[in-house]
């Protein structure tokens, strides 16, 4: 059994200076799936931007819940119901601390980031967006933070405006005051792009939005897993992310909102749990956060998410960020050695995360992915749920390698070697 101090102990650089990095070899031991052999090769998992792998403590927490605590929450008056409720609410308190110390009643459990954004679009958006109002998005949004706003704008005859991207893959803030105007009601932006890796200035966007009386919603699906996030410091009005991209189970998402905004919003789903008084002719709503949590939620996975948060805290989110920053830099440099290979988005590790999209001048991303899979390497290929962005980049698809705490240089070396072999294989 390894201790946590071993996992995040300082690694010494070749020149003898200490470096804040994670001990990849120790961390790998915590992830049973990484022992998998794929097509005769040890698995190299470079698809964490799609979903992360799960450490043993999270897998065990799911089993433990079903073995010892399973009951429906909030309603029962028996021992197990109280155990399950306490465990479920413990995760809520943990999430509240994890994103900068907010009140747990501002943490709403959803099915994922997508549902969190839809919740806001369908409730706040339905009540507050009127004809001629402006909704501002960015050109690098995932469909999850795009399609709900496209449809809301259509329905309400509102105007969808977008913040363009620069040639280097950053948001072009030069004309921001012409984009975010007195007509703007909400600004919706990803904190970290799932295609380009770009980290966006959410705090600055929130300031611009608030200056004209608008709200700021941030899609944190790619940021919260990889860096310390403080929603109060960012002054975000809504912030949403997913458990499964940060070592936790699938089926759990989080929507954070400012209290007065959440309180003024109508509920999303109607049914059990979200009510106060029900009559045949009138209904009153439960207090936050229960107003937004109708029906029986994914209790076991919420409970197990607590273990994922603890695991990340023990590593330290600053160290996680340092580790990925180092590895992103290494990956960009190594990929740069391959002739003709083009990296999308920022060309240096500064200001970006470890989702690294690339294209080969001669080979389609699907052929790249199939070839890499034959070598045991898992990457993503396609449009990454960002078709408008891919059109701007002039690509039909890209290949994407994405990094996390269990990756190190050897994974990147295997990727680069396989990409070299691939060109020989296809004879291009």
């Amino acid at each position: 059994m390894q201790t946590n101090t071993q996992k995040n102990q300082a690694v010494t650089k070749k020149d003898g200076t200490p470096e804040c990095r994670l001990d990849h070899a120790v961390i790998r031991e915590d992830f049973p799936i990484l022992k998998t052999e794929v097509n005769g090769h040890p698995l190299v998992y470079l698809d964490s931007a799609a979903t992360s792998q799960k450490p043993r403590v999270v897998i065990n927490a799911i089993l433990e819940y079903y073995r010892k605590k399973n009951a429906n929450i909030h309603r029962g008056l028996h021992f197990l119901a109280e155990e399950a409720t306490a465990a479920y609410e413990k995760t809520r308190q943990h999430v509240a601390r994890f994103i900068g110390g907010v009140d747990p009643s501002q943490i709403i459990f959803t099915r994922g980031t997508t549902e969190g954004i839809n919740l806001v679009a369908y409730t706040w958006g339905e009540e507050n967006i009127k004809e001629g109002d402006e909704i501002v998005i960015t050109e690098m949004e995932h469909h999850a933070n795009l399609v709900p706003w496209v449809m809301l704008a259509k329905k309400k005859n509102a105007v969808l405006k977008r913040i363009p991207i620069t040639f280097c893959g950053h948001l072009d803030m030069s004309n921001i005051d012409e984009i975010i105007t007195e007509k703007t009601k909400i600004v919706c932006a990803t904190h970290m792009s799932n295609v380009l890796g770009t980290i966006n200035p959410i705090g600055e966007l929130a300031e611009k939005a608030h200056a004209v009386g608008a709200l700021l919603l941030a899609d944190g699906a790619q940021s919260v897993p990889h860096m310390a996030v403080d929603v109060k410091e960012l002054d975000a009005d809504f912030y949403t992310f997913s458990s499964h991209k940060m070592l936790g189970p699938t089926g759990v998402g989080i929507l954070y909102g400012k209290r007065e905004i959440l309180e003024a919003m109508p509920p999303f789903n109607m049914g059990g749990e979200m009510i106060d008084q029900v009559y045949f002719d009138k209904v009153t709503w439960a207090e936050l956060p229960h107003k937004f949590e109708a029906g029986t939620p994914d209790i076991a996975d919420v409970v197990a998410f607590d273990a994922a948060l603890t695991y990340l805290e023990e590593l330290g989110m600053d160290r996680v960020r340092d580790h990925e920053h180092y590895l992103t830099d290494y990956t960009i440099k190594r990929l740069g050695e391959l002739p003709g290979l083009e990296i999308q988005g920022p060309q240096e590790a500064e200001g970006r995360g470890g989702a690294i999209s690339f294209t080969d001048p001669d080979l389609h991303p699907h052929d790249i992915s199939t070839f890499l899979d034959s070598k045991g390497i898992a990457i993503r290929a396609g449009h990454h749920c960002a078709q408008p962005l891919l059109r701007i980049l002039g690509k039909v698809a890209t290949a994407r390698a994405s990094l996390y705490v269990y990756n190190d240089e050897s994974d990147v070396d295997r990727l680069v070697q396989a990409l070299t072999d691939m060109r020989r294989y296809f004879g291009v």
């Binding site: 794929v38 097509n39 005769g40 080979l363 389609h364 991303p365 699907h366 052929d367 199939t370 070839f371 899979d373 034959s374 290929a381 396609g382 449009h383 891919l390 039909v396 698809a397 294989y425 296809f426 004879g427 291009v428």
Partner: protein, 156 residues
């Protein structure tokens, strides 16, 4: 897996991929139809010149993976000079082949046999189908008097 990989990317597939037949756009044509593969972004432009009842010339311009390009190249090679009826029969035969049905492959179409390796990669079958369903739709449109431009999206 390397065997499976080699089975999909057979030499004949790679040969078609590296030097696709019918890649030059036609000066004059009677049928045009575009194919799309929404899930992976493959795009295909097809032009057919008809003389009487014969496919006199064909252009298949494909932006996509090795499988969709190679399959389009084979199509161009095989249907050129065939009657419209025969071209449709061949396209249906390839469709059946890729769907795993037992079919007899004519001797002059042995390249088609190489497409069978794709069957081990279910998500790639639609890449191999793209050109063939685009041809069927284009010929159907022509026969029904709608020679105007069309678009076919493969969802099968």
């Amino acid at each position: 897996m390397n065997e499976q990989l080699d089975d999909m990317y057979r030499e004949v597939i790679l040969d078609h991929y590296r030097a696709p037949r019918g890649s030059v756009p036609l000066q004059m044509f009677d049928i045009t139809n575009d194919g799309r593969n929404p899930s992976c972004g493959d795009e295909l432009e097809m032009q057919v010149k008809v003389n009487g009842n014969t496919v006199e010339d064909i252009h298949v311009g494909c932006k996509g993976c090795a499988i969709s390009i190679a399959s389009g190249s084979m199509l161009a090679e095989i249907v050129k000079g065939k009657s419209i009826e025969e071209a449709k029969r061949i396209a249906q035969l390839v469709r059946s082949l890729l769907k795993g049905e037992e079919v007899d492959i004519p001797d002059d179409m042995e390249d088609i046999d190489a497409l069978q390796g794709v069957k081990q990669f279910p998500v790639r079958i639609k890449c191999a189908l793209l050109a063939w369903v685009t041809l069927i739709q284009g010929l159907d449109n022509y026969e029904n008097g709608h020679a105007a431009q069309g678009t076919t999206a493969t969802t099968e």
